[in-house]
Symmetry: C2
Subunit: 350 residues, 2 copies
Amino acid sequence: MTPSALEAVEEIASRVRNRDRRGLARGLSWIEDRTPAGRALLDRLYRADHPAHRVGITGPPGSGKSTIVNELTRRLRARGAAVGILAVDPSSPFTGGAILGDRIRMQDHSSDPDVFIRSMASRGSLGGLAAASIEASELLEAAGFDWILLETVGVGQSEMEVVEAADTTVLVLVPESGDAVQVMKAGVMEGGDVFVINKYDREGGDRLEKEVSLMLELSRELNATGVADRWEPPICRTVALRADGIDALLEAIDRHRAHLERDPERRREVRSRKIARRLRTQLRDRLVGGLVRRWDLEGWVAETTARIQEGKGSPYALVDSLVARLLEEGVPGARDDARRSEGRGAEERP
Amino acid sequence: MTPSALEAVEEIASRVRNRDRRGLARGLSWIEDRTPAGRALLDRLYRADHPAHRVGITGPPGSGKSTIVNELTRRLRARGAAVGILAVDPSSPFTGGAILGDRIRMQDHSSDPDVFIRSMASRGSLGGLAAASIEASELLEAAGFDWILLETVGVGQSEMEVVEAADTTVLVLVPESGDAVQVMKAGVMEGGDVFVINKYDREGGDRLEKEVSLMLELSRELNATGVADRWEPPICRTVALRADGIDALLEAIDRHRAHLERDPERRREVRSRKIARRLRTQLRDRLVGGLVRRWDLEGWVAETTARIQEGKGSPYALVDSLVARLLEEGVPGARDDARRSEGRGAEERP
């Protein structure tokens, strides 16, 4: 990294610490664009003490997550807490970015200096959005936001990656999301700390609650480990559009936070599991990123694709022999390369 | 790989080629379990000529994908085609495997020797399910199934990874899945070759069709590249439970197949893009897999997690310095290790 680039990182770092909105926006763009400056910034601002409480909110499209986030924000602000909100949306070729429709509802808070809202969109890179949104929440934490709300769209593996990095995971279901089998299909119930049945007044609300409750009971029996003071995920009934049940939801989140903090050993353990998971994911992504920067990965991909199409080998054998070579010898020439090119080498080892 | 393990691979390979059901089931289990035997099997059976047509079918839970798959299967069987079906489900701690509820409807075909149905469940590994289901479809292709239907649950990044590896991607929407914004939110419209509006007779069916059609038009304008003979994704209206509109859907899929095959250059190009994408994904996964096998990755993760919690460094700098070292030098001792341990070394280079 050049001296002027380092200076820019330092400047943004200090603006983020002062919760300067334009500085924050700039830093978040670096993170979304996966730039070396973004990583350098995160390295400087990383808070091992983890002062903020992160709440991940996920559920099917149309289940009312944005309304719930809006209502939670209102209550957290009434307590005087500063709230950072990340709305994690997949991108679309039609908009070229995040969809702002739902954000309009958030205009209640748009003039409040202690609320910061950012929509984050997938830019096509595999798993990149989950990584970027977790990193963005670390930036908001460094900016001194007390609560960080991570709202995702949809319930899938990538969405769960986002919310599992949160301290408290809230799963929002709606009666029309179907019967118990459909809920199980979402395959994410094991990740929930708090369940919300939103639009509870609709037909099927009672039945859905019974099903979720039954499944939680089953899970409790299957995973009975004799641990004292185990967290029992509560089920909250809400009608978010009327702000019904939101107080009880926030209280459930507060209780989960208190549960985590009551036992410092447990808090440490939970954090440590989350850090370890992120280290593995980051390592995977950075290894491939490093291959792109230090080696002609795309050249190898093109050449290997051609070989496969000519019937000269399967992807399985060809990938495995490359992996074996890389692990045994590293990237050919990478060491000399790193020595020669100060700039790029330094980027790799900040 | 030991001689007896190699023999087992050869035996299963020949049973798969003969479409022996128990042999197929065994091979698919190897693939799901991510074993070296599974990779060796795939390497042996890989078909560069890609004789089967793979159809990926995705959409929100409850949109009727299983019913559509059932109806398509009935029609393909009437033509005499052999059909392999992979139902890709996330797992749940409650069932410990794939959910079979929807599969019950498929019992129509359970006694037919030319239909093979397999549910595949996530076993917790990140992105592992997408990889496994693509590999499983390659196994079914080697077994001589003419059509392979890949049905996924949910619409997310991982689901799109599955269906994008298919030749034809069918996106199923339902009126209650909400307005155009919600559809865009699914963020997957760019991936669709054929759109289905199922339960078309419900309220909102017309409106949904108009919205999808408008968005396709918009996308056409944005991506206008002057390519002649461009594929225009059709919108099919179905009421799958009454088998309404399924003939037209199959016809649309046939037309897409014919479109791909009409121009061998285009077919090659499309295939080549898909192979290249898979090479990148596989490389990423195998690099981390290789680190687990050849090095104490978990030891590094534990040690680094502790350092981070003690405030001695951020994950960003620590991951980057490991990646730099690995790319420059490979895994310390891996070369000697590979020489010493014939068995494991051979697994890496089949």
